[in-house]
Amino acid sequence: MSSRLEPDTRVAARYTAAEMMTIAAARALPDRGTCLVGIGLPGTAALLARRVHAPELVLVYESGAIGAKPGYLPLSIGDGILAETADTVVGLVEIFNYWVQPGRIDVGFLGAGQVDRYANINTTIIGSSYAQPRVRLPGAGGAPEIAASCGEVIVVARQTRERFVERLDFVTSVGHGSGRETRRQLGLRGRGPTAVITDLGVLEPDASTGELVLTHAHPGIAVGEVQAATGWELRVAAALERTLPPTEEEVRVLRELEAARPGGGAR
């Protein structure tokens, strides 16, 4: 991968809001850490991170692949490329009981159907009735225990008022519950969400209250725009920063990944 030897750090001339989100999410991943890659957007960002700045990042998938090094973006977390390139492949009892539950994974990387101000996540239903939902979402998958037990959690989701809501229709995975004390009271061992990365900016939990605060606005995005896309009164950090715009390299690698995705580029 010559891209790693000669990074092109010029600011990209053109990029979309969705690309900015994926790139910001990739940057949040540490080199050399272990990352449990959730379904959807996190998969793209994790692979981008490995290609651009975090070649030693260990990718773990709930399908049982530990240390997968896929050369392209798989359509699903059970694609053969993940098993073929993994350091080891384990069964589903083992991945959750031996690897996720004891806190062996540094970062849990999750998507979300709905997010609230304490970074709690809903991926179960939209609507007021569980039995008769307006929209039935796929459900929990591995997310509740990933959110509970990984060292920290990074959430990546497009930001709209429909998604960033005052009150979740269903609490599938616990972030900071109803405030900073919740995780300790519930016996959740990981630190919980440390960042929610969207197409508009980055939200981080306040150190004392656990409430999400806008800490970074992406280039060209006004604070009012982010607040308008949030279903609660979003607080803004005193020292609000601008996200660094994508580099030419980040955009090029991301587009290469998307173009080579099997299944005709489903998203």
């Binding site: 359509l75 059970g78 009892v93 039935r136 796929p138 459900g139 299944g263």
Partner: protein, 280 residues
């Protein structure tokens, strides 16, 4: 007290038989059955045979119901779904599942819903012949309020409050594997998912395989199921399609993407099933 699940201990030889015969012998209307496979080795051909066999009123168990359960639900086979993630991986919704839950078409279905960790542990309890398993999970979320199969339990040693999940009891487990030998021992490799636990949680077991080989050569990381844990083996090459069998076939990603449009519309779905499953 009764064990939640009495492991099968038949010592009679495995029947190596055509799929239709195996399904007719093992699956009954009203059964609780699991067709397991986590993206890989999904027993699609067996699911289609169950649809053709007319078995109904099934409790369908699976961690990741995907297209084959969407098809079984849309064809009216399912009364109750026990699961932890129901979507089309990388593509989106399962539209037949959604239609059943949101609109009761073709019939309303009950849901019993867990996280993956909870389901995996319920299978492990079933395979172990225990009434429940323990995990650190569910705390603070809403899932536990919607099922009787999750309860709080206090650790007798430390006092920590943990979650207990009840064992899964299956009438039938159905899996797809790469190989059986001539006496019915089975080997599967790649992503092995929860298949071993599903087989050992079930009273009756059907395995479809890519091929029968003279002697099984052990593979690293493989699961080998001795013949006496299995009732029927059916040889069905490409029997996981559009899923795949590591070493034999490739995942048909284009089909997973195409299923989104086929399954959105009730008539398009019915007509696809008529052409590709019922008259196949």
């Amino acid at each position: 007290m009764r064990f939640p699940n009495i492991p099968r201990m038949t010592r009679r030889p495995v029947e190596i038989a055509p799929l239709a015969e195996a399904v007719a012998a093992l699956v009954r209307t009203g059964d609780t059955i699991a067709l397991e496979g986590f993206t890989h080795l999904i027993p699609f051909a067996a699911g289609h045979e169950i649809i053709r066999s007319g078995r109904r009123d099934l409790t369908l168990v699976r961690m990741t119901p995907d297209i084959v359960y969407d098809q079984m639900i849309g064809m009216g086979c399912c009364r109750r779904l026990v699961f932890s993630w129901g979507g089309n991986p990388g593509v989106g919704s399962l539209h037949r599942l959604r239609d059943a839950v949101e609109h009761g078409w073709p019939n309303p279905i009950e849901l019993e819903e867990h996280s993956h960790a909870g389901m995996a542990n319920r299978y492990a309890a079933g395979a172990s012949g225990l009434p429940f398993a323990v995990l650190r999970g569910y705390a603070g979320g809403d899932l536990a309020a919607h099922t009787t199969s999750i309860r709080e339990i206090e650790c007798p040693f430390t006092g920590e409050v943990l979650s207990a999940v009840s064992a899964l009891e299956l009438d039938v487990a159905v899996i797809h594997a790469q190989q059986a030998d001539t006496v019915g021992n089975v080997q599967l490799w790649g992503f092995v998912g929860i298949q071993k636990e599903a087989v050992l949680s079930a009273r009756r077991v059907l395995v479809t395989v890519e091929e029968v080989v003279g002697t099984i050569e052990p593979r690293p990381g493989a699961v080998v199921l001795p013949s006496w844990t299995i009732d029927y083996v059916s040889v069905v090459p490409n029997g996981a399609h559009p899923s795949y069998s590591d070493g034999y076939t490739q995942r048909d990603n284009d089909f997973y993407v195409a299923w989104d449009a086929i399954s959105r519309d009730r008539d398009a779905f019915r007509s696809w099933m008529e052409d590709n499953v019922l008259s196949a």
